[in-house]
Amino acid sequence: MNIFISNSGDVPIYEQITSQIKDMIMRGELKGGDALPSMRALAKDLHISVITTKRAYEELERDGFIHTMVGRGSFIADANMEMMKEEQYRKIEGILTEGVRLAKSSGISCEELQEIIQMVYEED
């Protein structure tokens, strides 16, 4: 498992951890039942605060990606594809909102915008 922490970015460190673990789950690198390092061990290895790793794990737990058992540690939850897709929808929505805002401010119509998406989608 690799986690890369950037101290310069605008993204809070706990969010960097949660999004990277989620990505690993979606890519299938982490599977249901896999053990995660303890919050304290992860904090030590990344040289960050325990509060940061705790917050990351709490958010992952809240969103159903992992479950934590007292005294045994944290484990990846069995993949819930619906939930993963939901998560991706949210991400895409976020990115597209930006595009729509830009389109509106420059007078580009919804049809034109759809054409752009169509084009980009097929290009790839």
């Binding site: 040289h47 509060i51 917050r55």
Partner: protein
């Protein structure tokens, strides 16, 4: 939450300096940094916590007990490294182990040897031949080898190179792998604490002006760079400090997101821990 150190309304007056109503708590399982400029009161606070000085008033509880009454008992469970304190120059690490074994009931010679090895402190060399970093590592190892629950260190990383400082931070994080353990470390090198500390307590002129989770400080504080005439438009309750330059005006705010929403055109940057200190000290002058 269980607190390993509780300082309540601590007051101590010296000619020309006083600690004024110092209040803060160190929870279990964390590293707390006590940050302030030289002469701010860090060492005095630490000395009061370990009962090395008389205080004028206030309550101090260490590991849940009053240190002035149960000092002997508590000292078995804490490890302390004070600024400038050192073992005698002619001693070797292995000899220090011998006499520390007579001082502490729980001295663990095997663990001591292992720590010396892990942190590459030579056992057989007199301290006078040690580098500054090695001396400090020895002090910390010696403070840890009786399995304390709490480490209290005054300026343990100042004067050391980044490599040794990093090793020492490792030691602290290793120490708090046990959730019942905590570290209180005073420092004016805030970049070290920026990495590993869980809580930061700022002290200035003998007064605590902020004691908070580090993540929260780093996330919520920000520096707005604006024209001096824009200053009046920022809500005063968000302003922590102001620094006026020749071409622009820097404002330390404690609600970065709110400022971003209200003034999308203003330039707002993330902070470093030392900014909080700099704004406070400069704003005071």
């Amino acid at each position: 939450m269980e607190y390993l150190i509780e300082v309540e309304n601590l007051n101590k007056t010296y000619p020309g300096f006083s600690l004024k109503n110092v209040n803060f708590k160190v929870p279990g399982g964390c590293i707390m940094g006590l940050v302030g400029e030289n002469g701010a009161g860090k060492s005095t606070t630490i000395k009061a916590i370990v009962d090395l000085i008389h205080t004028d008033s206030g309550n101090i509880r260490v590991l849940g007990k009053d240190i002035r009454k149960k000092g002997k008992e508590i000292r078995e469970d804490i490890g302390v490294v004070l600024d400038g304190a050192s073992f005698h120059e002619i001693l070797r690490a292995k000899e220090i182990g011998k006499f520390m074994g007579k001082i502490y009931r729980n001295w663990d010679e095997k663990y001591y040897q292992r720590l010396l090895k892990t942190f590459t402190v030579p056992g057989n060399k007199p301290i006078k031949e040690f580098s500054t970093g090695m001396r400090m590592k020895l002090m910390i190892v010696a403070a840890m080898a009786h399995h304390p629950k709490l480490l209290i260190l005054d300026e343990a990383t100042s004067g050391l190179d980044p490599v040794v400082r990093d090793e020492i931070l490792d030691m602290f994080q290793e120490f708090i792998q046990d959730e019942a353990h905590s570290v209180l470390i005073s420092s004016h090198i805030t970049s070290d604490l920026e990495k590993v500390a869980d809580y930061i307590t700022f002290i200035h002129k003998g007064e605590i002006f902020l004691s908070e989770e580090k993540d929260r400080i780093m996330e919520e504080y920000g520096i707005v760079r604006c024209r001096p005439e824009d200053l009046a438009s920022i809500a005063p309750d968000m302003i922590v400090g102001v620094s006026r330059g020749a071409y622009s005006c820097d404002v330390l705010v404690n609600q970065r997101e709110r400022v971003k929403q209200q003034y999308p055109d203003m330039m707002i940057n993330r902070i470093k821990l030392e900014d909080v200190l700099l704004f406070k000290v400069k704003g005071d002058k």
